[in-house]
């Protein structure tokens, strides 16, 4: 081994505390990068594999009714590959606890199981019902409610209870992420399930003999999907197409893609921040080492080593950190990627297609880390070039001292205690380094704000959506549209403070070539349940004729307040109309548009028609309405709240992980900064000891410096954290879910508390170093 490399190894050994603390940061960065990147690939592969195996639909067409015979015609549409009709209707399920409201989606399966959206049988059970009284139950629901094969479930169909035997349990690629509708914030598999029954049975029970209300379609080429949709819309409009949903827009797929994107984003942003902080520490550390080694560098140059050799000698220190960190991090990442992928696929309920190790990520990781470390190493050690062998033999001249601005304000300065004066002077002596450290700590602080924001945002989204924007206690959906008299009928059945009609129908909003299928909801203009607020948080009221759309839809369709928009009806015989976007309102969950119910009836539908109601009531509506015909679902805000609270508990773990990440960064920064500071100022401390300062005084001086640094970092970190939160909101918000920008003081206070704790731990870790300084040796040393 070359002697310079041997020297490097011994140098590392001597500064092992610092070396390890920076290596840990690099290792964590690489571990996160590899673990989440590989996990993303694994999940993505698993989903693709699962979609392929089960032959997932490319399109789902929801219609009022389409006869079986028309499917043949559908097959002849250019670009259509396969077609399969089905019945899909949500019904209440009777469960042992009468207070519990559970809905189940009954979906028909052709005899033999069909060719599109094939079920994936679990544990060898059958994947198609052979008898009219048999159902195949979706796995998540069966698990959540502990239902097994041969159990009986009793859905209430058209007011009548049907006893159906669970013939098998299966999973479905269509319901990887099981959510009832777009308004559900979270999956609640014990409250909503899917049961597959024989086609003939559901056709007769629901009155769809010889016809369907949904058609699944696969296409020859997904790239042509929009053309296929246009053709289908034109030719099959007469069957009352309500909505055509592409696979990419299907609820389960959409959420899944968002989750995968979220993991992917985490796999790049977090490691970048970690590497950046590592780079800051490395460059500060190396600049200190080079300064300490000034004379040795001079000797090396006198011996005939050139600038490049000496510079690369020190840069190798950084590279050693990078490579050691990479190897440990990558090994850890690969080890954890497997269980992590398992956790995700089992969470998503998909069979794992196999673990794939992408060597590209390993190479990327090593390259990226090397670039960061070499860059910061060169930056930190660049002073090597300016060290002249002749100069280095002489002690370094003290840096030119000059008065600071604050010193000129005599009135203030003379009141500053001496120990604080030293602290301030020392900070000002290394302004650039101080700025770097503050930036690093601010980043660690920013990382801490993100999980705190997430938990706050989830609570807030829920509270805003169901406390402020929608104030009903229950939302009731009818299985078929009803006359407004239904409200009067309902008020006889339940004890309600107020009942408001609701008209909820899918339409396509079109602006130029941009279009979007949304639920258009009609509510009375003087609605007591819906509160609309614009971007500035000002209250807005529904207009007589115009339409309100969410910010997300406005963004997607590129429309502004006051623009005209085409509302395309799926109902046969209804003309498309043009409406003005009177306002753009805030809504966190779901992609909706709202308008006055009367205008909606008049312009788009039939008079006197409602599809559901919103109710304010303390009554137990689920119990009271369980036997009522024509009610497809009764959703209570209370139930959603309960599911939400349970979910928040599981989120705590993720919050802890994030805080730990921020903590590691904060720790490493403070620990290294303190160690470097001590080694630089050992002579100064020795002199102070001789003057009568004790170890505690010196330690308290260092503590003061770190406290000032942490304090400023927190102040700088607040806008940085806010920017990270904004970035988070931008990248995680979709048309289905809009994260609110919440910059609540408690997020920043809690993040500050977490930062203070980690800084304090790092500070304590350096206690021994300060107490073990040999002051006599320090004074003898020629170079400080």
């Amino acid at each position: 081994m070359k002697k310079l490399d041997l020297r490097l190894l011994r140098m590392i050994k001597q500064s092992k505390g610092q070396f390890v603390s920076v290596t840990v940061i690099v290792a964590v960065a690489l571990c996160i990068y590899v673990m989440f990147s590989v996990t993303t690939i694994n999940i993505d592969n698993a989903v693709k594999h699962y979609y392929r195996v089960t032959n997932i639909n490319d399109l789902i067409i929801e219609l009022i009714r389409i006869p079986q015979g028309a499917l043949e015609a559908l097959k002849t549409v250019d670009g259509v590959a396969e077609v399969q009709g089905r019945i899909s209707i949500d019904v209440p399920l009777q469960v042992s606890n009468e207070d519990e409201k559970v809905n189940i989606r009954m979906i028909s399966l052709p005899d033999g199981g069909g060719i599109i959206n094939k079920l994936y049988a679990v544990d060898g059970s059958t994947d198609h019902p052979d008898d009219n009284k048999d159902v195949i139950l979706l796995e998540q629901f069966a698990k959540a409610r502990s239902i097994t094969t041969d159990d009986i479930i009793t859905p209430r169909i058209n007011g009548r209870l049907h006893e159906l035997k669970v013939a098998g349990v299966a999973s479905s690629s269509e319901f990887i992420y099981l959510m009832e509708n777009e308004q559900s914030l979270l999956p609640a598999p014990e409250k909503f399930g899917v049961a597959y029954a024989r086609e003939s049975f559901l056709q007769s029970t629901f009155g769809y003999r010889g016809s369907y209300n949904q058609v699944m379609v696969t296409v020859d080429d997904y790239a042509d999907i929009d053309d296929v949709i246009d053709l289908i819309e034109k030719r099959f409009d007469k069957y009352g197409i309500k909505k055509i949903t592409k696979l990419e827009d299907q609820l389960s797929n959409d959420v899944l893609v968002q989750k995968i994107d979220g993991i992917e984003m985490m796999s790049s942003i977090l490691p970048m921040m970690f590497l950046l902080v590592a780079a800051i520490i490395i460059s500060i550390m190396l600049s200190r080492i080079v300064n300490n080694d000034r004379m040795a560098i001079g000797v090396l140059k006198a011996l005939g080593y050139g600038n490049i050799s000496v510079l690369s000698h020190y840069t190798k220190y950084a590279l050693a950190i990078g490579l050691t960190g990479s190897i440990i991090g990558i090994a850890g990442g690969l080890l954890l990627a497997n269980p992590m992928s398992q956790v995700f696929v089992s969470f998503f309920n998909i069979p794992l297609a196999g673990i794939e190790i992408q060597y590209g990520y390993i190479i990327n990781g090593i390259l990226l880390t090397s670039i960061f470390c070499i860059g910061s190493g060169l930056f930190g050690a660049r002073g090597v070039i300016h060290i002249m062998p002749a100069d280095s033999m002489r002690p370094e001249a003290p840096k030119a001292g000059k008065r600071m601005m604050i010193e000129r304000v005599v009135f203030i300065w003379k009141h500053v205690p001496f120990s604080w004066k030293m602290v301030i002077r020392n900070i000002m002596r290394n302004k650039k380094r101080f700025a770097f450290l503050v930036l690093g700590l601010a980043m660690a602080y920013g990382i801490n704000t993100v999980p705190l924001y997430m938990s706050q945002a989830m609570v807030s989204m829920f509270e805003m959506q169901y406390g402020e924007y929608q104030k009903m206690d229950y939302t009731i959906d009818f299985s078929v549209p009803q006359n407004k008299r239904a409200i009067t009928d309902l008020s006889h059945l339940i004890d309600a403070e107020y009942i408001e009609p609701r008209l909820d129908f899918p339409f396509e909003l079109v602006n130029g070539w941009r279009k979007k299928s949304v639920s258009l909801i009609g509510v009375p203009r003087d609605t007591r349940f819906y509160i609309f607020k614009d971007k500035e948080d000002d209250l807005i009221s529904l207009p007589e004729k115009g339409i309100f759309i969410t910010e997300a839809i406005a963004k997607e369709l590129r429309v502004k307040k006051g623009d005209m928009i085409t509302v395309k009806s799926f109902i046969p015989g209804k003309e498309d109309i043009t409406l003005q976007v009177t306002d753009i309102f805030k809504q966190y969950l779901g992609a909706n548009a709202y308008m006055d119910i009367e205008a909606m009836e008049r312009l788009l539908l039939d008079k006197n028609m409602i599809t559901g109601v919103s109710v304010a009531s303390n009554d137990d509506l689920k119990e009271k309405l369980k036997d009522v015909k024509n009610i497809s679902s009764v959703r209570s805000v209370g139930d959603m709240m309960q599911a939400f609270v349970e979910y928040l508990d599981t989120m705590n773990l993720a919050i802890m992980a994030y805080l730990l990440f921020g903590g590691i960064l904060g720790f490493a920064l403070i620990y290294n900064a303190t160690i470097i500071g001590i080694s630089e100022r050992i002579n100064e401390f020795a002199s102070l000891r001789i003057m009568g300062f004790d170890k505690k005084d010196i330690y308290s001086m260092i503590t003061k410096e770190n406290s000032v640094m942490a304090g400023i970092a927190i102040i700088v970190g607040i806008p940085l954290g806010a920017a990270m939160i904004n970035g988070m909101v931008e990248s995680f918000s979709s048309d289905m879910i809009t994260f609110p920008v919440i910059l609540a003081p408690e997020i920043f206070i809690k993040a500050a508390a977490a930062s203070v704790v980690f800084v304090a731990i790092a500070q304590l870790a350096t206690l021994k170093k300060v107490y073990n300084i040999n002051f006599i040796d320090a004074l003898k040393s020629r170079i400080s």
Partner: protein, 236 residues
């Protein structure tokens, strides 16, 4: 004889700028160094002797004047050529030894020889400086004299044309100082290596073939020593 001249210093001056002030560290120095000569440059602090040594060793460049080594003007060298010059032609011995603290004695010597083409056998050199038994010790485990012997071994093992020693006894006691001077003398006489010592210690001048005296950046005297005395007889 012309062929015996190793180095020719012609009108060499060196100015430094320290803030607003211009310092003439060396002015119009001219002399020659012959192959195998033992030269002592004498002078008090600030006389410019270290500056001169740095220029001779290629650690610094003159402001004006020429330094010709074996027919090549090193004052016109760029950084890369100067590095090569220091690597292949010069061996340095410093007052404070300047060993690498985290390398053993032998490793310190190897550090210097690793990049040289004609280096000597390290074990033999260690033997020569009397450190064969101590070669695996770290500098912190050695006395000042031992450390200086390692430094000499490091300089000699490269097999340079010229050995430049900056106050080699400055940090040592009298007895150890003499031992170091004897070692340098032996290297000069037995291996025919050119040795240049700079010192403020007048007594050391007595062992030189030639003494160059300096004061205030100028050479004030160049004196041939007809009968150099062996280092063992020097006293201060």
């Amino acid at each position: 004889m012309q062929s015996n001249i190793l180095m020719k210093v012609e009108n060499v001056s060196k100015d430094y700028r320290m803030g607003e002030v211009k310092v003439n560290a060396l002015q119009e120095a001219s002399f020659e160094i012959n192959e195998g000569e033992f030269i002592v440059i004498l002078g008090p602090s600030g006389s410019g002797k270290s500056t001169l040594l740095n220029i001779l060793g290629g650690m610094d460049l003159p402001t004006t004047g020429k330094v010709v080594v074996k027919g090549e003007e090193i004052n016109s060298y760029n950084d890369r050529k100067l590095t090569a010059y220091r690597r292949d032609k010069v061996g340095f011995v410093f007052q404070f030894y300047n060993l690498m603290a985290n390398l053993t004695a032998k490793e310190n010597v190897e550090l210097a020889t690793e990049m040289c083409k004609n280096s000597l056998n390290i074990d033999e050199v260690m033997e020569e400086v009397g450190l064969a038994e101590r070669k695996d010790h770290f500098p912190s485990q050695m006395s000042g004299g031992e450390q200086q012997r390692v430094a000499i071994a490091r300089a000699v093992a490269k097999n340079p044309l010229l050995l430049l020693c900056d106050e080699p006894t400055g940090a040592l006691d009298y007895k150890t100082g003499l031992l170091i001077l004897s070692l340098l003398h032996k290297i000069n006489r037995q291996h025919n290596k050119t040795v240049v010592i700079i010192t403020h210690n007048m007594a050391i001048g007595d062992m030189a073939d030639r003494v160059i005296k300096m004061r205030s950046g100028r050479i004030v005297e160049i004196r041939e020593n007809e009968n150099p005395i062996p280092p063992e007889r020097i006293e201060w």
